[in-house]
Amino acid sequence: MSLLEARGLSIAFGGVRALEQVGFTVDRGEVLAIIGPNGAGKTTLFNVVTGLYRAHGGEVRLDGRDVTGLPPHALAARGLARTFQNLEIFFRMSALENVMVGRHLKERRRLGAELLGLPSVLRENRESRARSRDLLAFVGLEERADEPATGLPYGALKRLEIARALACEPRILMLDEPAAGCNPVETEEIDRLIAAIARQGVAVVLVEHDMRLVMRISDRVLVLDQGRRLAEGTPSQVRSDPRVIDAYLGRHGVAAAHAA
């Protein structure tokens, strides 16, 4: 039994079949990369698995239990966290507060006590703040903790989302293009982060276009094309698969993949 298992997921928008019979499994400490050309259905797959979209067919299992169609917050409570390709930041809050929201499920949230500002609530605020500062340090943002999130550059916001997702103490972390728009130094930083997260026993699923990154850190790679599974295997199997080269990598991509 895998930690997270998606089986035969299908969804269509209008007449367009965005996903057809796609599945994957991932286990503790494993890094699974999902690659494929634009429009292959990678983000759609993320949105289905994390409960933002409802699949028309197929199922998602967490610890072997059927969680298909559960809302995102219920999946988060079961240990599933994610980041977004097009940043979903709480822009009216500071960097630290963004991460603190990630502690939501770990906080007790008794409305009466909160309204009265009881010492238990203040203590919990302090704990959340301390834990969130640690996570900001982990992603290299401790210096900017108290700055409003609006002022942070793109690469920092990408890492802020990772810190926020980690604040949920997830068992499965799904990263949608964590290195998109990052310079090589930032990409290397993200590379290091993902490896460290996986070492802690978290199952990592990531969508990424940076082939060097994918080849370096993934245990397995799933290739999607036009909403279907094109190939799956270890990085070396995938990068030498002629179908993958045709559909996605091309000659240039193969060079990048081998350079990794």
């Binding site: 988060a76 939501h104 909160e114």
Partner: protein, 315 residues
């Protein structure tokens, strides 16, 4: 603490200071009555500030909840033989219950749709009050008996000033505590991104409902206090114009600012009284002032001025 805002203690201290100073500077019964109205309106505006400013949800029918509080307080003694205070408690409970029942379906709506749905709710409450003449007295309004506590009559502008003033300080204290809590952070988060809030585990629908009910309770409390203090209520208390006034208080004072809601309430309660010197141009001047405030302090009075002070200091 959030940058650009005052700390909890500074806000409560400011409120207490104003509360203490006003009767010294303006001791006449007329001024105390106006100040009492400010505190009552501020109580309703505070609830709305949590809903609009903190959680980003609009309500254009909030006077409806004020009306429920006010009319329950007035009708309990008349029809059920209850004393006004327990009637007010019942009214607050009824408003909370209505918010809970109605909030569930309408809070699924967003932006303009939510605005129109809450607008409809407010109009509905107003309509019932106006048309159920045998029960509510209809457009003519309804008289209340004096409140008695421990066998003594609660009366006099000064006493009501202190009662409502204490009420607003308590309401602000609760609101400030909520802001600085897990629930408060979740509300601010869903204001910015419901999707991101939900994937970190925030039950968005439940949190919207919670803040909607809290806002309804604040409004019903304000309505009840108004009925007790004024000893006479008309359907205006639940009218559309009241709802708009309440929203204007929140926006002009500064959305998301607790002190702003009180300042906005003060401005919109005091200005119409002060502007009577302009006679028939009174409303035009009021409108113009609101427009000017919005043009020059778009973030609202309190955050706008606070921002300027901070900029000047750092310059």
């Amino acid at each position: 603490m959030r940058p650009g805002t005052f700390s909890k203690l500074a806000i409560l201290g400011t409120l207490l200071l104003v509360l203490a100073v006003v009767p010294l500077v303006l001791p006449s019964p007329f001024h105390l009555r106006v100040a009492t109205l400010v505190w009552i309106n501020a109580t309703a505006a505070l609830g709305l500030a949590l809903l609009i400013g903190l959680a980003g949800q609009v309500s254009l029918g909030h006077a409806g909840f004020m009306g429920i509080g006010a009319y329950a307080t007035a009708l309990g003694p008349k029809h059920l033989g209850l004393d006004p205070l327990s009637s007010m408690a019942l009214g607050i409970f009824a408003a909370a219950l209505l918010a809970l029942l109605v909030g569930r379906p309408i809070l699924r709506l967003k932006g303009h749709y939510l605005a129109v749905a809450t607008l409809g709710l407010g109009i509905l409450v107003h309509l019932v009050i106006v048309s159920e003449v045998p029960v509510t007295g209809g457009p003519d309004g309804i008289q209340l008996p004096h409140v008695e506590l421990l066998g003594r009559r609660v009366t006099g502008p000064e006493l009501w000033y202190w009662i409502t003033g204490t009420g607003v300080v308590l309401a602000a204290w609760l609101a400030l505590n909520l802001e600085d809590s897990s629930t408060g952070r979740a509300l601010r988060a869903l204001h910015d991104s419901e999707i991101a809030a939900s994937v970190v585990g925030v039950d968005v629908a439940r949190h919207k409902l919670v803040v909607f009910v809290i806002a309804a309770v604040y409004a019903a409390l304000a309505g009840g206090l108004f009925a007790l203090f004024n000893r006479f209520v008309t359907p205006d208390v639940a009218g559309f114009l009241r709802s708009i006034e309440l929203v204007t208080m929140v926006v002009i004072g500064g959305m998301g600012s607790i002190l702003g809601a009180v300042v906005g309430a003060a401005l919109l309660t005091v200005l119409p009284q002060a502007l009577t010197v302009f006679h028939e141009y009174e409303h035009a001047v009021l409108g113009l002032l609101i427009v000017l405030f919005m043009v020059f302090l778009r973030q609202g009075i309190v955050p706008g001025l606070a921002g300027r002070v901070v900029r000047r200091r750092s310059a």
